[in-house]
Symmetry: C2
Amino acid sequence: MKAIRIGLLGAGTVAGGVVKVLERNRAEIQRRAGRGIDVAAVAARDLAKARRSLGDAVALTDDFDALVRRADIDIVVELIGGTSRARELVLAAIAAGKPVVTANKALLAIHGTEIFAAARERGVAVGFEAAVAGGIPIIKTLREGLAANHIGWIAGIINGTTNFILSEMRSKGLDFAAVLAEAQRLGYAEADPSFDIEGIDAAHKATIMSAIAFGTPVQFERAHVEGIAGLQAADIRYAEQLGYRIKLLGITKRREDAQGATVGIELRVHPTLIPAKRLIANVEGAMNAVVVHGDAVGSTLHYGKGAGAEPTGSAVVADLMDVTRLITADPDHRVPALAFQPHALAATPVLAIDETITAFYLRLRVADEAGVLADITRILAEHSISIDAVLQRESGEGERQTDLVILTHDTLEGRMRAALAKMQALGSVLAPIVRIRKEELA
Amino acid sequence: MKAIRIGLLGAGTVAGGVVKVLERNRAEIQRRAGRGIDVAAVAARDLAKARRSLGDAVALTDDFDALVRRADIDIVVELIGGTSRARELVLAAIAAGKPVVTANKALLAIHGTEIFAAARERGVAVGFEAAVAGGIPIIKTLREGLAANHIGWIAGIINGTTNFILSEMRSKGLDFAAVLAEAQRLGYAEADPSFDIEGIDAAHKATIMSAIAFGTPVQFERAHVEGIAGLQAADIRYAEQLGYRIKLLGITKRREDAQGATVGIELRVHPTLIPAKRLIANVEGAMNAVVVHGDAVGSTLHYGKGAGAEPTGSAVVADLMDVTRLITADPDHRVPALAFQPHALAATPVLAIDETITAFYLRLRVADEAGVLADITRILAEHSISIDAVLQRESGEGERQTDLVILTHDTLEGRMRAALAKMQALGSVLAPIVRIRKEELA
C-alpha cells in the first residue's frame, strides 16, 4: 500500500526530530503501521537555514498556505508554534480536509475548542500527543488507557526548565537567579525564559489535561498561574527539614459536592511542597512526570523526557501512525495485537542465558588469609571479566573467614559461569558463591 | 445507540472489579465511548458463590460454552485464568466471531501465537491490557504511544507479591522465609505462592512485552526464569552499601551486531541489582513499574498498581472501550479529541483560586519575643485553619528576629488569604510572609 505523505509546517528543532525519527525507523514504522510515512515537503521561512538543518533529502517550500492545501498531502504537521499564524494554518488544513498533528500546547489551550469543533465538522482527526509532556504518551494514557476511570486529579511536573532550576536550587543551595543564569548557559533555559519560569507553559499543558480528564472545553483563561521566580533557597531548605520537596506542579482536580456531583474544577500551576517520599518528588533535572489519580486504578505515574527534538518527535510520529490507521479503511490497519503487522513479525530468537550480557554481584565466603583476592581476581581476568568494585568486610575478632563482595562490569553469562566454577573450586572459598545479576538501566 | 453487551467468563476477583467499574462509571464510560457497555451475563462454576460476590443485578449461567456463542453478546471477557479451558473458550469465542478481552497472561504467553492467528483469521480483536502490570496501560503505551521508537530494552517490576517481599526484606532486614509468611498473612501472597516467587508470573508478562516491543511471536518457552526464594538478607545489605537495591525484574533486550542488525533477544526474569538512585529502584510494596528504553524517547517509566480487582478492572474496561470503538462503524466513535464525545462535554467551571483547597507552607520573619506564636495561631484558628507542623528556628547569638515555619492542613485559599492579611498586619511580623501551597498527592 502506498505510503502516507505528510507536510511539515516549520523547520525548527522538533521538525528536525520528526524527520530524523521517520527516516531512521522507517522500516519499523511500516512494520507497525502497515504503511510507510513519507515527508512530502517542509514549509520554512528561512529556506537556507532549513536546508542546513534538515539536509538535502527533504523538499522545502516557503509557501505555508499552499502546503496545507496540496492534494498530494495526507496529513499536515504544525510545528511553527505561536497562536496566530498557527491557528490560521491549522484551520486552513482542516478546511482542506487534512488531519492535523501538532505539538503546539499554547494553540490548543487557547483555541482548542474552535479547532476541535472545526475538525469534527470536517470529519478529520487532530493529534496532539506532543503538546503535553513531550515523549510521555500522557494524552493517550488519559484518553484511552485510563478511560474506564472517574479521574479525581492530575498533578504533573510538565516543564523541564523549571524542574531543572528547582533541582539545582535544592542540590546546590543556590537562589533562583544564580541557577537561572547557569541554566541559560547550559541551554536548559531560553534567553527569554518567561513562558517557562512564570508557569505559562505548564498552564497550557495542565489546561489540555484538565479538559481531557474531566470532559470540559479548554479553559486556559481561568487557570491560576504562579511561577518560580520568587522562590528562595531558605524555603527549599525548610521544606526539606520537614520532609518535603518543592516542585512546580500543574494541578487539576475535580471538586464534588456531598452527593458526588462535580461542582467545579481546580486548574492551577504553582510551586508546591510535596512529600519527599513520593516518586514524583524524586523526578530531577529536566525530566517530566505526571501522576493521574483514577477511582478504579488508583495513582499511576508516567515519567520521561518532556522536551527535545526526538522525544517530542516520538510523540508526533506516534500521532502520525494513529492517524494513518484512522484514514486507512482496510481493517488490517487496526492496531495489531502484537504491535507489528502479522506478516511483519520476525523470527528473532531468544538467546540462551549463557549468551546474555549483564554485570554481576558476587559474594564469596572466603578464608581470611593472604592471596585469596589475588586468586579470585586472576580467575576473573582469565575469563575477560573486569571488576567494577570490591567490598571486603573486616573479619571479626577471632573469625577466620569473611565475606568478599565483588561487582563486575558487563560480561557474557557463559563466561561468568565458567569463572564461577573455577572460583568455587578454590580451597579458600568456603561456601557456595552467591551471584546476582546487575543492571544499570541507564 | 444501543449498548454493547458483554459476556464474562469467570466470577472471581477481577470479574467483580469489572462489574463494579462498569456500573459505577456507567455514565462516564458512555460519555467517552459513545455507547454504554452492559454485562449481559456472567458464567461461573459456583453460581451461589457468584451470586454472593456479584450481587443480584447480574445474570448468571454455568454454561460457559453457550455463553461464548450467544448471538446477543458482542464481546467475550475471559477471566477464568489457566491455560487449558481458557484456551478452548477463547478460541470458541473467536470462532463464533466475538472479539475477546482477557487478563490471562499465562494463556497469551504460552498460546498467544495460536490465539492471535485465529483472531486475525476471523477478523476479531483480542484485547489484553490487563494481562501485564494490571492498571498501568503498558500494552497501549508500547503498542501505540511509543510506536515511533526502535525499542532497545524493557525492564519491569511486574509482580507485586515479590516486590512486596523484597521491600520488606530490605526495610526490616529479614530473610525471605520470614517475610513470605507475613505476606501470606496479609494477603499479599497466595497460599501457594510459587507462580509469583519463582518468577513465572513475571516471565509470562515479560514474554508478552518482549513480543510487542520487538515484533516477534511469543517465546515463553525460551525465557530464563529465576525467583527470589534464594535471596539472603546479607546480600540486600551489601547491595545497599554499594548503592544498589535488589528487585525482581522482568527484562527483555534487543541484541544487535556491529552493523545494527538485530541478532537476538534477551528474555529473562531474575533478582537484579539496580542503582538505588533510579526511580524504579524506589518502587516499594506491591506496586509495579516498567521502564521502556526507545531510541527517540529515551527512557520512560510507567508506574501503578499491578493487581487487584479494580486496577485490573480498569484495564479490562479500557480494552472493552477500545473494542467498542472498533466494532462501531460510525466515525463518531473514534477516540474523541478531548476524550469525551463532543456532545457529552460538560460546562463544569474552573473554580476561582480563592475557592481551591490546598494545605500551605508559611514562613514568617518574626520578632523573637513572647506571644508571637500565640498571635499567629489565634489568627489561623479564627479562620478555621488548622496547623499540621511548626518549625521555629532558634535565633542566633544577639539576633532579635527568627524564622517561623508553619505547615497547615487543607483549607480554602480564600480563608488563607484573609488570615495572611491579618498576620502580615501584626507588628511582630517583620517581612512579607512567604506562602507556598502543599499537596500530599496521596
